[in-house]
C-alpha cells in the first residue's frame, strides 16, 4: 500500500503543479477584483506556445535553454490572451463571465488553428521534456525523501518558489496590501490615491502569465504533446481557488486534494489493485469530487468583496 503511494506520489506532484500555478494566477486576478473564468483558455495558450516554441527550436538549441525559453513563450502567450480579458473587463466594464468564456473559446480555436500550420494534425509533440532527477542528498531521507525529492522536475520547485513568493508578496508588502484592497473596496483604494485600473491590470496579466506557465509546465513534464485541450484543468484550478477560499495556503491544499484524486484516476489502469473498479468511475471521479468540494466550500464564500464587479 505504502509502496503504491510512493510510486504514484511523484505523479501527483507533477499533475498538481500546473493546477497550482494556474490557480495562483487566478488568485491574483480575483484578489484584484476581476473574476477570471478564462483560466482554461489561458492555460491552453501557454500549453500551445511552449509546444510551438520547443518544436521550432528543439533541434537547434541546447535542450535546457530550449525548455526555459519555451516556458517563457508560454508565459508571454498567456499574458497576451489575458490582455484581451483585462481590456474588456477593466476598461470596457464588460460582463466578466462572458469575456472569460470568450477567452476560453478563442484560445481553443486559435491554438488548434495555428498548430495545424505546423503539423497538419493539430497536435504538436515535443521530443523531450524535463528530465526528472533525484535531488542529491535529501532524496535519501527516509519517508520524506522518496516522496518529495526523488524523481522530481525542477519546474515543480520553480512553481513552489513562485507560490511562496506570492504569499509573501500578497500579505507582507505594501503592494500586496493595495492589490487585495482593490478586490475588497476599490473606492477606498482610489481615495488613497492609488490607481485601481493599474493594479487590476497587474492582477489579470499575472493570471495570464502564471496560467500560461502552468500550461507550459504541463507540456514539459507529463504531457509531452500539445493536443488542443487541457481537459478542464483550468476549471479545476478555479474550483481549487474557491475551495481554498482565495488564500495561498488553501489553494495549495485544494490543488493537491484534486491532484491526488485525478492522478489516481489516470494511473488506475496500470495499478492492478485498482483494476477491478470500472474505469468510468475513475474518469468522472475528479469532477464529482470537485462538485462535492464546492458544495462544502461555497456556502460561506469569502470571495473578495468587489470580485467580478466592474469599477
Amino acid at each position: 500500500m505504502w509502496g503504491l503511494f510512493v510510486q504514484i506520489f511523484p505523479y501527483v506532484i507533477a499533475y498538481t503543479i500546473p493546477m497550482l500555478i494556474t490557480s495562483l494566477g487566478g488568485l491574483y486576478s480575483e484578489r484584484s477584483g476581476v473574476s477570471n473564468l478564462g483560466l482554461e483558455g489561458l492555460m491552453l495558450s501557454g500549453y500551445f506556445a511552449t509546444a510551438f516554441f520547443i518544436k521550432l527550436t528543439e533541434n537547434i538549441m541546447p535542450h535546457g535553454i530550449c525548455i526555459v525559453m519555451g516556458l517563457l513563450a508560454g508565459i508571454i502567450c498567456g499574458m497576451l490572451f489575458a490582455l484581451l480579458h483585462a481590456f474588456a473587463s477593466i476598461n470596457l466594464k464588460a460582463d466578466q463571465t462572458i469575456s472569460g468564456t470568450a477567452i476560453n473559446m478563442l484560445a481553443a480555436a486559435v491554438t488548434v488553428y495555428a498548430a495545424r500550420m505546423i503539423t497538419g494534425s493539430g497536435n504538436i509533440p515535443i521530443l523531450m521534456g524535463i528530465v526528472r532527477n533525484d535531488i542529491p542528498v535529501i532524496s535519501k531521507i527516509p519517508v520524506v525523501g522518496p516522496l518529495f525529492f526523488a524523481r522530481s522536475y525542477w519546474s515543480s520547485w520553480l512553481a513552489l518558489g513562485i507560490w511562496a513568493f506570492s504569499w509573501w508578496l500578497l500579505y507582507s508588502t505594501s503592494f500586496g496590501l493595495r492589490l487585495r484592497a482593490c478586490g475588497e473596496h476599490p473606492s477606498a483604494v482610489e481615495s488613497a490615491g492609488i490607481n485601481v485600473y493599474a493594479m487590476r491590470y497587474f492582477g489579470v496579466l499575472m493570471s495570464g502569465a502564471l496560467s500560461g506557465l502552468g500550461g507550459g509546465i504541463m507540456l514539459v513534464t507529463y504531457s509531452g504533446e500539445f493536443n488542443g485541450s487541457v481537459a478542464g484543468l483550468g476549471f479545476l484550478a478555479i474550483a481549487a481557488m474557491i475551495f481554498g477560499q482565495w488564500k495561498p495556503l488553501g489553494i495549495l491544499g485544494a490543488t493537491f486534494f484534486f491532484g491526488f484524486f485525478t492522478t489516481l484516476a489516470n494511473v488506475s489502469q496500470v495499478i492492478p489493485a485498482l483494476g477491478s473498479v470500472p474505469t468510468v468511475i475513475f474518469k468522472i471521479f475528479p469532477y464529482v469530487v470537485t462538485l462535492i468540494a464546492l458544495v462544502f466550500s461555497s456556502k460561506h464564500m469569502s470571495a473578495p468583496a468587489a470580485d467580478g464587479v466592474p469599477y
Binding site: S172, T173, S174, F175, L177, R178, R180, A181, E184, H185, S187, A188, V189, E190, S191, A192, G193, I194, A305
Partner: protein, 507 residues
C-alpha cells in the same frame, strides 16, 4: 482679507450629463474655523468637496490654497496640499485591520511594518483624543470607532484642512457631542474644518460660518451665531419650511402586529434581536429609534420574512407569521418600504410598470391562470404613478433604474401604500431625499395611518422619528430599552436609551 483664507474655491462649475451640479459656486474658508456647507440632498455639496479632494475636476473655476492657485488632479495632490476627507460612506476595507486601513497608500516602504505603524497610530490617536484599537478588523468595531479611523487616516497624512461629509448620520446624540468636541480639539491644534451637512442643529452647535447651497448655486455665506435656524432652512430650501408634520392625534385600535419574545440571529451567528416584545395598533405610528447596527435591520428582516426567526412569535392580524413565507405575510396585510432601495426595493432594468406589480403579479386581477393581464398592470401602474407623483422620462415604460432617487422612493412608497397594507413597515423611508420629497412621503405615511392602518417606522434620523411617531420604541444591543409616548419624552432622553442606559418604563 485674502491672506486669511486657507482654501478658496472660486466660481466653480461642474456639469454631469443632464445636470449642473455646481453652478458658479464660490467658497472661502478661513484658517482655524469650522465652516459648514448647508444644502439639501442633491444640492451639490458632495460634488464640490469631491472636487476639492481631487476625485473630480471642475469644468470652470480656480482653487487656491493659502493664496496660491493649485490644480488638484487626484486625491494624492489633495493629500499633499494637506486636504483630507472623511467620506459619508466610509472608505474602509472591512476585513483589514484599523492599522492596515490607515496606512493603505502611505505604507512607508515596500515591506509592511505593521507593528511600527500601529504604535505611531496609537500615539497619534492619543494626541487628538480619538480612542481606537489598531489591531482590530473594521468589521468588528463600532461605527463611531470606524469614523475615528477615517479621521485618523487624514491626520496620519498631516492633513490641515479636514472635510467631514455628513458625519453624524450614523451616530447617537452622545457620539455626536463627542464628535463636536473632537472637532473643537482639532481646531485648537490649528486645523481648519469644512462640515457638509443638512442638519441645522449641528451647524448651530459647531460651526462658525455657513455657506448655503441650493440646486447647485451658492445662496449666501452667513455667520452662524447671528442667523436663526429658520432663516438658514429657508435659504436651503428656497421657501419657508416647517419641520413639523401636520398630524392629528392618533386613534389607536386593535393590535395589528404583536412581537412576543422575538429572538433573531444576525449574520455573524450571534443574537441580533433578543427577547423583543412590541405591539403596534391600528391607527398608530410606532417609531423604532436606535443607533445603526443595534438590531433594527435584523428585526425588520425577521418581521418581513427575509431572515429566519430563532424563537418567539410574530403575530400579524392574529396569525403567527414567524414561519410563513414572505408572500404569505404580504397576503396577511404586510407592506414593506425597504432600507436599501437599490438592493431590495427596485429591479433597475425592468419597467416602472413591472416594478409596481412585483408583489402581486401572481394573482388576479394582475394575472389569471398564470397568464399576465398586461392591460390591468399598466392601468394600475399609471394610477400609482399619478397618485404618488412619480416622474420619469418615458412614463411607466421607463426602466426603474433611470429614475432619480426621490422618484424611485416615491414609486416604492406608492407601490406599498397602494396595496393598502394593514401593517406598513417603513425603514429609512426618506434617506437621501430632498426636503420636498421628504415632506411628501411623510404626509403619505401619516395619511396611511389615518385610514386606520398600523405603521412601524424605523429610522436613523431622530428628527423623523419624533416628527412622525405616536410612540417611540428604543432598541439598543438588540433589546427593547423602552417604549414611550412621543409627547412625553425628548431627544436627549431617547439618546441616552439608544446608548444603552435603561430607564423606568414610561408607557
Amino acid at each position: 482679507m485674502d491672506s486669511n483664507y486657507v482654501i478658496e474655491m472660486l466660481h466653480i462649475r461642474k456639469e454631469f450629463p443632464g445636470i449642473i451640479a455646481n453652478d458658479d459656486i464660490t467658497l472661502q474658508i478661513k484658517e482655524g474655523e469650522i465652516h459648514a456647507i448647508l444644502g439639501e440632498n442633491g444640492a451639490g455639496k458632495s460634488t464640490l468637496m469631491s472636487i476639492l479632494f481631487g476625485l473630480y475636476r471642475p469644468d470652470r473655476g480656480t482653487i487656491k490654497v493659502r493664496g496660491q492657485e493649485v490644480t488638484i488632479k487626484n486625491p494624492n495632490d489633495a493629500t499633499r496640499l494637506g486636504i483630507g476627507m472623511v467620506h459619508q460612506h466610509f472608505q474602509l476595507v472591512h476585513n483589514f485591520t484599523v492599522t492596515e486601513n490607515i496606512i493603505l497608500g502611505k505604507e512607508d516602504g515596500f515591506i509592511l511594518h505593521r507593528k511600527e505603524a500601529a504604535l505611531k497610530i496609537k500615539k497619534l490617536s492619543e494626541k487628538y483624543g480619538l480612542n481606537i484599537a489598531p489591531d482590530m478588523k473594521i468589521e468588528d468595531i463600532s461605527v463611531g470607532m470606524q469614523q475615528r479611523v477615517e479621521i485618523l487616516k487624514m491626520l496620519y497624512r498631516d492633513a490641515n484642512i479636514l472635510i467631514f461629509d455628513e458625519p453624524t448620520a450614523v451616530l447617537t446624540p452622545q457620539e455626536i457631542d463627542d464628535l463636536m468636541q473632537i472637532m473643537r480639539n482639532l481646531v485648537k491644534e490649528g486645523k481648519s474644518i469644512i462640515l457638509i451637512t443638512h442638519k441645522l442643529n449641528e451647524i448651530k452647535a459647531a460651526a462658525d460660518r455657513c455657506t448655503v447651497i441650493r440646486r447647485g448655486k451658492m445662496i449666501d455665506v452667513v455667520d452662524v451665531a447671528s442667523t436663526s435656524m429658520q432663516d438658514m432652512a429657508a435659504m436651503m430650501v428656497g421657501r419657508p419650511v416647517s419641520f413639523k408634520v401636520d398630524k392629528a392625534q392618533a386613534q389607536p385600535g386593535r393590535p395589528v402586529l404583536e412581537l412576543k419574545n422575538l429572538c433573531v440571529m444576525n449574520t455573524k451567528n450571534v443574537p441580533g434581536v433578543k427577547n423583543f416584545n412590541l405591539t403596534v395598533h391600528a391607527g398608530e405610528i410606532v417609531g423604532i429609534a436606535g443607533v445603526d447596527g443595534n438590531g433594527q435591520s435584523e428585526l425588520v428582516e425577521a418581521i418581513t420574512g427575509l431572515v429566519p426567526v430563532q424563537s418567539g412569535q410574530i403575530i400579524i392580524n392574529g396569525t403567527d407569521a414567524a414561519h410563513l413565507t414572505i408572500r404569505r405575510r404580504n397576503e396577511l396585510g404586510l407592506g414593506h418600504i425597504p432600507e436599501d432601495r437599490q438592493k431590495r426595493g427596485i429591479v433597475p432594468i425592468e419597467s416602472i410598470s413591472d416594478n409596481i406589480a412585483i408583489k402581486e403579479f401572481y394573482r388576479p386581477p394582475f394575472s389569471r391562470y398564470g397568464i399576465l393581464d398586461d392591460g390591468y398592470m399598466r392601468r394600475y401602474a399609471q394610477n400609482v404613478v399619478d397618485h404618488f407623483d412619480v416622474r420619469s422620462g418615458e412614463g411607466i415604460k421607463s426602466p426603474a433604474g433611470k429614475l432619480s432617487g426621490g422618484n424611485q422612493q416615491k414609486m416604492i412608497v406608492g407601490r406599498e401604500i397602494a396595496m393598502n397594507p394593514e401593517l406598513l413597515i417603513a425603514v429609512q423611508p426618506t434617506r437621501g431625499l430632498d426636503v420636498g420629497a421628504i415632506e411628501y412621503i411623510h404626509k403619505q405615511i401619516v395619511a396611511h395611518r389615518d385610514k386606520g392602518n398600523a405603521v412601524l417606522l424605523v429610522s436613523l434620523e431622530l428628527d423623523e422619528i419624533f416628527n412622525l411617531s405616536d410612540r417611540i420604541a428604543v432598541i439598543s444591543g438588540g433589546e427593547l430599552m423602552n417604549i414611550v409616548y412621543t409627547s412625553e419624552t425628548n431627544e436627549h432622553a431617547v439618546g441616552l436609551m439608544m446608548a444603552g442606559v435603561r430607564q423606568q418604563e414610561v408607557r
